[in-house]
């Protein structure tokens, strides 16, 4: 006999999540499941809508990374409609995507996950309020970085909440030259703050890895979209997958995703998990996001970021540790700001030619961007008048779901449950493992069928799951 114990909700992640533990007769945990508690069914809701509306509707999947959905959708719509966008439109879209990273990475590091490891032991609480109280300097840093990123999103995207300006064929308006110059100054101001955050994340990551040696460190395949020459790129490129041993396992354009990424049905869970067909169902489950990108990208395309990446490699080598995501994420924060600086410094970014006229038609189209949490794929099929007949969306958190579940299970396996709760230290370790991936359940719950992170701890068979 075993009983299932539901722990309180996991806070400071984006969305509703909860861990259920399966506890054996001896009072020790044998199994853990990460339950996602929302359902909105977005893929079905998109059917019947017009293809050119996808960027405006899908941005509502997620309030944290609406930019990524907006752009993945418009790229897939471009592909479906056969639109080739002008160079300046591509630059503006890339800038928009980069800006989305700034607010998102700063939010996660300073205000969501950071309170676990940035505050001293005497902090009043391990959350936003604790940061404001114990480290107001960090709160100010977070606010300044988020404000800079959201300002760029607002200028380029029309509004910071759910941007609207990417349309099939390009952008709905160009960037005025005086606005470009103003944004350049905003970005230059933010780079210093990002560099300080990177230093902080380096210290924190090394300390966390020393405190939790070997935790959530099993090598897995990794996947990311990168530009030619395996350069860091959040907007466009080719998908590259590494095997667990670090060798290249696969490479393909996003348009071929269905031939390369499968979805397994596991014998012990209703959940499906994306896997690399090149490796197979058994071992092909992969991770995405900052660590995957850093491991796959040969260049971060910025001097400061490349120096930081070199330091990362010399300290940690080809690490697989979930906790290393924190450092990788802040290296990216530097990289995206450096890239923004380079793009905004170019007067051609203000070019008035930002769209081509596009005619409605039917067909199918797929595209990917790198979202803050990892690769995001949108796929649409439409009838002759451009009405969507099928939509398929694979979000980053879904691709990390197996690893998130494993991290949670590893943290709690064999631990004793007293009065319906884990020991504080055990719960903290579990939450560290989960939050390292910055799971976004708002994104993930558009497709609940893939999301209940059911986890099996390797060990004695437990009946009644």
């Amino acid at each position: 006999m075993s009983e299932t114990l539901r722990l309180p909700a996991i806070t400071r992640i984006e969305g509703h999540g909860r861990v259920s533990l399966v506890v054996g007769d001896d009072g020790r945990v044998t199994d853990a499941r990460f339950n996602v508690l929302e359902f909105r069914g977005f893929e079905k809701l998109l059917e019947g809508r017009m293809i050119w509306e996808m960027p405006l509707v899908t941005s509502r999947i997620c309030g944290i990374c609406p930019v990524s959905h907006h752009l993945a959708a418009v790229k897939a719509a471009d592909a479906l409609l056969g639109a080739e966008i002008p160079p300046a439109a591509k630059v503006l879209r890339e800038l928009l995507q980069l800006a989305g990273f700034v607010h998102d990475h700063a939010l996660h590091f300073f205000l969501l996950a950071g309170p676990d490891f940035l505050l001293g032991r005497d902090a009043p609480s391990r959350d936003l309020l604790g940061v404001l109280e114990a480290r107001p300097d960090l709160a100010r840093r977070a606010i300044a970085l988020r404000k800079a990123g959201q300002h760029v999103v607002e200028v380029l995207g029309g509004q910071p909440g759910h941007p609207v300006t990417a349309i099939p064929g390009g952008m709905s308006r160009p960037l005025a030259d005086d606005a470009r110059v103003e944004l350049l100054a905003t970005v230059r101001d933010a780079i210093l703050g990002a560099a300080e955050a990177e230093t902080l994340s380096r210290e924190a990551t090394l300390r966390l890895l020393a405190e939790h040696p070997g935790f959530a460190s099993a090598p897995t395949p990794l996947l990311a979209q990168v530009a030619a020459g395996r350069a860091f790129d959040v907007y466009d490129g080719t998908i590259v997958a590494l095997a667990a041993d670090g060798s290249v396992a696969d490479g393909f354009p996003a348009s071929d995703y269905a031939a390369h990424i499968g979805e397994s049905t596991l014998p012990w869970t209703y959940a499906k998990a994306p896997y690399l067909k090149a490796i197979g169902v058994e071992d092909g489950s992969y991770r995405v996001g900052p660590l995957a990108r850093l491991r796959i990208a040969g260049s971060m395309r910025g001097d400061r970021a490349d120096r930081a990446a070199a330091a990362f490699r010399s300290e940690l080598g080809d690490t697989s540790a979930a906790l290393a995501y924190h450092w990788a994420r802040m290296i990216e924060l530097v990289a995206v700001l450096e890239r923004m600086e380079a793009l905004l410094a170019d007067a051609a970014t203000s070019n008035a030619e930002v769209r081509v006229k596009v005619e409605r038609r039917g067909g199918s189209g797929s595209a990917a961007v790198e979202a803050p949490r990892g690769t995001l794929i949108h796929h649409y099929e439409a009838d002759d008048v451009g009405r969507v007949t099928r939509a398929d969306i694979i979000v980053a958190t879904t691709q990390n779901s197996v690893a998130i579940g494993r991290a949670a299970a590893e943290a709690v396996a064999g631990e004793r449950v007293v009065d319906g709760e884990l020991e504080d230290a055990v719960r903290l370790r579990m939450e560290l493992g989960i939050r390292a991936y910055d799971p976004c359940l708002s994104c993930a719950t558009h497709e609940v069928g893939r999301m209940p992170f059911s986890v099996e701890v390797i060990g004695p068979c437990v009946e009644g799951r």
């Binding site: 029309g158 910071p160 596009v358 609940v448």
Partner: protein, 301 residues
Amino acid sequence: MKPKLATVVLGGCTGCHLSLLDLHERLVDLLGAVDLVRSPLTDAEEIPPCDIVVVEGAVGTVLDEETVRDARAKAETLVAMGACATLGGVGGLRNVLDTADVLARAYGDGRGPLASDEGADRAIPALNPLVRPVSAVVDVDVEVPGCSPLPDMLFDALVAAVEGRPFEAPRRTLCAQCGRRHESMLQHDSGFVADAVYGVMELDAIDPDLCLLEQGVICMGPVTREGCGARCTEANIPCRGCMGPGRKEFEQGAKMVDTLAAILPAGAIMFLDDLIGTGYRFGLPSSVLPASVGRGGGGDE
């Protein structure tokens, strides 16, 4: 003593909470004026008795319903924040669909956890057949419209709540706020204002100053309340109605059909390409339309 404030997310995207974060420095001021006792950004889980509870998201599951009833019971003042909470939101588009079809699309083979009911072992809260705005389940004291709400408007609403003053979002239509020029629309003898209906992507050139409807692009401005700053139309993108109708008494989508019939050739018919997705993108759960396809609906219980 500072007023106690709690915030919760039901079925939504967390975007309204991002609007709160987008207050930037003013968020610190706000947090200095209240005692934030519960929020997705902090570690407390239970909602204690408070002066103000701010709710983001629609009521789509049994758990959402439990949470919002709990929030109402604990709150002196309940604030519904954003389109999902006030109108039902984008997720409400499932109200004209069969819940089983929506689940089948998500699960494919129908083997999802909701397919079996194992009582206490069921980890995922059951779906209600209809998505509802908060006001359809409990009494709401303050509504802040928008997807996402403008941070400035949120700030004003919350400061009013803290000070115990009423808050009312503006009530005119977006056209009153959008600075675009009208030409033929204002001339009684002009006939239709455009020769056909287009997506923005289909225009030869986008006139940045002329009314989008006069360019043949469906814009929900005439039937949508102002207060968003007209940021979409400013960016050459038509309004999609996220602020909801200026008055809840009228049907946003049906009113748009009415508006279009007078100014575009076969406008209403073209609009039927996707009447629901355009006319009711954010407010289907507040409309009587789902009832007309046998799915219940209507705003208030």
